[in-house]
């Protein structure tokens, strides 16, 4: 059985040489379309303004302007360096906080028997119906009355309590092997000890997958940081990029370079953590 399966698979997949070539041509054309925006971004980031806006379109700039790389950081109108730093702090703390809070709650709901656990679980499920983006007005009202506008607290804390992430952790822990925990219990660990010494170390793949997705979402978030970051010193990089588009003077190569730099951390995540990312999406995108 196991030996025949790959063979039949090969046979059904193997079209003629023609159809296989056609397949690769079609896929490559589609891939080109997907790469064009990245090409434009890199090309423009390393060009001079006349080369971006001029009549004579060249595939690549005649002289690659490596000096452009530092320009966003020296720009007096928008403090790009500060905004990158804000994004980094917010992205990391958002990820760590969400994982901590939601995994503990998910574990309780999945594994600690308690009379009212089901009622509480329904209380969490109800929040899945209302995406936080839709309630940004009331959330802003609350956060501003706490005096958290323009602060890391305001940017990070309201986003930590994701019903969906808690739900995912609960589903995951429901499938976690009971034997491992029982062994920990025999060794005299309580729930807390077993969680940190046995459950978490054996779930690192799942944690990594959720962390990757949470970080990407945190880094790319725009609406909430826009609402909270009233003062430029509290802007995240997304808000800073957005401000470039409404500025009076448009400095093309600087804007494109800033955008390219803003994507770099995530490109890093993609190149080195793609395994977890894909796994995370397959797990989080759909339940059931």
């Amino acid at each position: 059985m196991t030996t025949t399966a790959p063979e039949t698979r090969k046979r059904t997949r193997r079209g003629g040489v023609m159809s296989s070539t056609g397949l690769y041509i079609a896929t490559s054309v589609a891939a080109l379309f997907f790469l064009v925006p990245f090409y434009l971004l890199v090309r423009n980031a390393l060009s001079t303004d006349p080369e971006i806006t001029g009549e004579n379109w060249k595939f690549f700039p005649t002289h690659i302007q490596w000096g452009n790389i530092t320009e966003p950081f020296d720009d007096p109108t928008v403090d790009f360096g500060q905004s990158m730093w804000n994004s980094l702090v917010v992205g990391i703390l958002h990820t760590v906080g969400t994982l901590l809070v939601c995994s503990l709650a998910g574990y309780a709901l999945a594994r600690i028997p308690y009379r009212h656990a089901n009622k509480i679980f329904y209380g969490v499920l109800v929040t899945l119906m209302v995406p936080t983006a839709v309630t940004f007005v009331p959330s802003f009202v609350l956060v501003s009355s706490l005096g958290w506008v323009d602060s890391y607290r305001g940017l990070i804390i309201p986003g930590l309590f994701s019903g969906f992430t808690c739900f995912l952790f609960r589903q995951y822990f429901l499938g976690f092997p009971k034997e491992l925990e029982e062994a920990a219990r025999v060794d005299g660990l309580g729930y807390w000890g077993a969680y940190w010494r046995v459950v978490v170390p054996n779930s690192l793949n799942f944690f990594a997958a959720i962390a990757t997705i949470t970080f990407i979402n945190g880094w790319n978030a725009f609406l909430w940081p826009l609402v909270i970051g009233q003062d430029p010193s509290a802007w995240t990089v997304q808000v800073a990029l957005s401000s470039y588009m409404t500025n009076q003077t448009v400095n093309y190569h600087l804007i494109f370079m800033a955008t390219a730099i803003s994507i770099l951390p995530l490109l890093f995540v993609f190149l080195f953590l793609q395994r977890w990312l894909v796994q995370g999406i397959a797990q989080t995108g759909i339940k059931g």
Binding site: T12, Y24, E55, L104, N220
Partner: protein, 321 residues
Amino acid sequence: MSTTTTRGLASPAPAEVTKPRPRRGLRGSRTFNFWLFISPFLLGLIVFVYIPIIWSAYLSFFEARFTVTPSDFVGLDNYRDIFSDTQFTGSLVTFTVFAAFIVPTTWAVSLGLALLVNRLRFMRAFYRSVFFLPTACSYVAASLIWKMSLFNGVRFGLANTVIGWFGVDNIAWLANPDPPWYWLVIITARLWLQSGFYMILFLAALQNIPQELYEAAAIDGAKPGWQTFRYITLPQLRATSTAVVLLLLVAAYQAFDEFFNLLSKTTWGRPPLVDLYYTALGQDQNYGKGSAGAMVLTVLICVVTLFQGKIMGFGRGDESR
């Protein structure tokens, strides 16, 4: 204390005692542990999710400009106000048009990409990564590339350069609502950003289709290609397809970033969240009316997600602990 010891002595079966109930006092108790694990999350959920919604429901019945502790009760005036506001009702129309375009196109493109990638034998990981890469981009970054370069309204935008080769005049893609070319800009941007994500979901589903089905079909004389796609692949993907459509719908409902950045300050093409942003946080700071709008949107999205829950079976089938 004494009662338990006597009962322990009287009981003949020591197995009862090994049930780990109160053996180690408070720290060993399940109730204590349950609350220890869940209270940080639950507190946050109440403060940052439940309270804002309730507060907002309250505000929606008050005249509240520049204040969040209003005293002027106005009944349903804010709701009357928001429904007679053509900007708000127009935003619901905008959302409907947007969803009608973006949901089917993303569904088709991501399924198409998944089918292509799934059939590749060499360089599959490479092509998958290429299609997946735009997921790393933020909506803001994509808006910037689309607005400043790809669909720049002046001659040097790539789209205008390309149509220039065919002798077509420059098009002001975003600056002019008639004809509404801005839809092309918005749809292509979102298509680029999210197709790869849904492709991953379709790929996972495609790989779960039992190969035997195709073998059986081949024995029955089905031609590989359209026939097997129509009668095997598509029906086998039904659960994933339904989920993808509903996820896309909810995502479209929350569209904000690209509309806000591509069409800054224009009066056309405003989806609900952008309209709400300008109502509540714009010049007026009209929290009462903004809250009423948020309530309306919340009810609408609840209806959609309840429907989604029905179909996807959220929380069902896991009572078997």
